[in-house]
Symmetry: D2
């Protein structure tokens, strides 16, 4: 069956946190436009972003938040470091961990387990019970832990996504060993700032806002910029600005699209309030939950209020 996106896809390229077999690759597979595109595996979020900024890839897919480990600092900080990129989509990937090893390995012989620290933290309970004397060898990704089993590693087993055995000649020793069976990771698709995504009625808008430091209560004031316009937040996460302790910026996901009047006015309010605010993008929600502003905060109500105000102001 010919892919209708195939022509444009051929010209498209997607950087992702590799190697093949990572959870990030599973996120890329959810993207329709990525079918048939070339996939570029990188080792670090900042590499992925650099490739986007320099125009060497069309898009990058990176993890932004995990339901257990929280925000991915590398991604949040990379987003804060440039004004040139935008978020164009988000994707949810269930996080399931299997213990894999070279064919012939027995569970009872496993002494050293390689994996990414996050995967290790989630599997630690199972490991303490089943492999009480094990040693952890940290790696930069779950897939590289698996790959290294066949190459350079002195580890006996690796913790990785179930699909890893499609990529490497490995055996599964134990399935679903993570503590939380509903764990998910949220990934975002990043590209150069360009066309706005079209509003779908089920959108999210992401911004980074620095708090003014000269007065207490400024977080409350910032949240009121949203509340007064009836804009709900789905996530708020603090990150250090980095110059000294006690100074924070906030990564915020809000319901709605920047073309919605309520969201636009809230963002303009943030711009006045904050020493620095970065617009990261408006894009369709992964869960497709409707979030178009309604009631007092609908575009219709904004339009009527504007008409009313304009009539008053024009009386001169």
């Amino acid at each position: 069956m010919p892919n209708k996106n195939s022509d444009s896809a051929r010209k498209r390229s997607y950087a992702f946190l590799g190697p093949a077999g990572t959870f990030t690759e599973l996120a890329v597979k959810q993207i329709n436009q990525a079918k048939g595109a070339s996939l570029i595996s990188v080792n670090h979020v900042s590499e992925a972003i650099d490739l986007v900024v320099s125009g060497k890839v069309s898009r990058a897919v990176v993890p932004v938040e995990n339901s257990i480990e929280g925000g991915v600092s590398a991604t949040l900080d990379a987003l804060a470091g440039t004004e040139l990129i935008r978020i164009y989509g988000e994707y949810l990937v269930p996080v399931t961990f299997n213990l894999v090893a070279k064919p012939g390995t027995k569970l009872s012989n496993v002494k050293t387990v390689a994996t990414h620290p996050v995967a290790y933290a989630q599997s630690r309970k199972w490991l303490l019970e089943k492999l009480p004397g094990h040693v952890h060898l940290p790696t930069t990704s779950t897939a590289s832990a698996a790959k290294d089993l066949l190459e350079s590693s002195y580890a006996d087993a690796a913790i990785a996504a179930p699909s890893i055995i499609n990529h490497f000649k490995l055996t599964t020793l134990a399935k679903n060993i993570g503590e939380n069976k509903q764990a998910q990771t949220r990934f975002i698709q990043i590209g150069l700032a360009g066309d706005l995504s079209k509003p779908t009625g089920a959108d999210k808008t992401s911004v980074i806002v620095e708090l003014p430091t000269d007065r207490p209560g400024s977080l409350l004031e910032m949240l009121e910029q949203f509340a007064t316009r009836g804009v709900n937040l789905t996530r708020i996460e603090s990150r250090p600005i980095g110059d000294r302790l006690g100074r924070y910026r906030f990564n915020i996901d809000a319901e709605g699209h920047v073309l919605d009047e309520s969201v636009g006015e809230a963002l303009a309010g943030l711009h006045r309030f904050s020493p620095k605010v970065s617009f990261l993008g408006s894009y369709p929600r992964a869960d497709k939950q409707q979030t178009a502003p309604s009631g007092n905060n609908s575009n219709g109500q904004y339009g009527e209020a504007k008409k009313w105000l304009d009539a008053i102001r024009k009386a001169r």
Copy 2:
């Protein structure tokens, strides 16, 4: 000395709460454009407003607030009853009460004292001490109490403004008998809705806002429409909507001019929030205190935020 406003003033006419000698007349005398204009004395605020609405007078001057007695209900309710009028100015008049009588009257012979209930309340302490057995005869104004002494009244004395003796052949029996020596009344100049007053940098904006009744906390929400835009209120006064107990509208005076971005956005916010909001006018403050929005809420900051938002939105 020829009055430079005289030509246009000749065509102008001002209704005021009369008769001659009332505090309202003192307010009219503060208005430059009223010099040489014809002054129409009326008995009731609603008469004054009716004359404006019907075009029979150019302007009306009515009391809106007294530092002791509070808001003047008749004025507040008249303002709420029509969308056709606007406030064009405010004037402060010190309120001093004298006891006056027909020439020859002695204080010791005064048994019945005529005056408006508000003047009576403010003079009651003095009267109880000096004229313990007196009877109060309520009248519709202090000036009519004085005027009636010479005509129809069976009162022995009247309480009125000091200047009343310029209008009627009366003697002053006691000066400054009001309890509060700093008492002031605030008057407003009302005209048909027309040209906006030009911003002066020291302006007030008045609105009437009905609260939605379907949820608690709506007054707080309404105030946040101002606070989020940094607009300060100088007065807020509740009045019953009138259909049943427990439903209120609020008369609000805010600092700034409707042409200020912060004030305009707050008003548009009220329009979305409230089942009914009436714009009463933007006009120069009597105390000339500067109130142009500044800092995060200056027109400059609004302009920059708008430019920033427009650039984001145009990216499509």
Copy 3:
């Protein structure tokens, strides 16, 4: 039928805004404990309060709010003027106005109409239609207007409560001439500060709060003292403090009883926040609507939070 309250009632006395036939007397009749008590008619709210403060009467019944005219300034200011009194109950009286006259009077002959200014304002529309050339004679109460018809007045008719004809030999010329047919007045029962009314689960708490004047946004802060504890307001009304324009105190009715933890904490918060706060009383609501705090703000939740905090604090 013997009244079970008769013995104690005999010793009880109630001051009310008289004379007999006023709406205030109708409020007194709603009070069980007032049955058989002696009723003392007074002309002014401050007289009624003075009688309570001096111990000459047990209680006073005065109007506090009208669904059309709003707050009764004399009552609100009298409440603010002393710390010695409390509100012990509230009563709603429908306000219906009839036009009455001496027997034999014809409507077509009525030229002068006596009544209280509030009653006049509510009947003005009817009068302008039916008696276009009439003159208004203001009186201190509707009942005194009626009474004076038989005594001193030169008025031809009076506007008063329908029940006025039970007290004076008068005829009804027109019924229910008020503009708003659902008009109500709320009355309160005032006594010396003494025992708290027992909580009924359907209570109101009244306070007077002065706003600090040194900063904008203080009204918002004051309302947050209630909102943070989940206490709803049923009424908020500003009154001038009286020393100069721009300084206000607020008369507030809140849902719940001062013995409720949420209400108590809100009041203590006001005490810290405000330069002056007066507790006027907790008393059963006239409409018997349940208002006991619930959910997060129930007394049970407050108790558990206190227990939790005490355990933390005792760890030393």
Copy 4:
């Protein structure tokens, strides 16, 4: 010079993120009572906490926040996982990174660099410039990276604290290679829940608060629990609750001590508001900045408000 804490210190033991030479050990050295105590090196925050909970050590010292990398998830999550522990102190350690190697190693020969991912991120810019083709080998601490150089590692150099050369026979190849020269890490001292630290007038109080999920705006409501009592926050950091995306708890540091009335009332308010709130401790600030509540929120003002309320409530 004999240490006056030596006797009790002998019985004391401190677990810290080791091995010797980590930044955590530098934090331990700031603690007076730790002088002469036995220091137990552990590999993981959760091990340190487990030793405290089981009573095997008196205290543990762990990093909680870095000025560049942000909150230390392992610590934040360990604190959320038990009610048995408290924070007893905080310590600031400047974070400076040196590149170290076995004696004889030349910078030009370094191909593989071992260090903790956080140290790597902060040194990456320097490494890309000076060692463009290097490979990163992640380790569980900077000190273990250094230690491993002499033992098991195939790395050529390690990034660690300057003081690392006091512990291992290593040479410094480059000094202060971190990107941010003012970087700091904040450490906390953890013990079993027991005696409260005495208020010093310069204290912090730490709590973890889960947000109710059933309504938008709950973060704003939570912050108002602090704001209404005038309690300032110095840090707020979200962490996932872990069961699914979109559910957060907040780690909060507030100014003041739980024995301060304002802080206590705010905490009790959180207890009512939140499905789960954990008190982590009140302890002296590392920066010794005075934070005792003052003005309207001082203990004196709280005391007066309570006295006033009690007097009202006792009237029965």
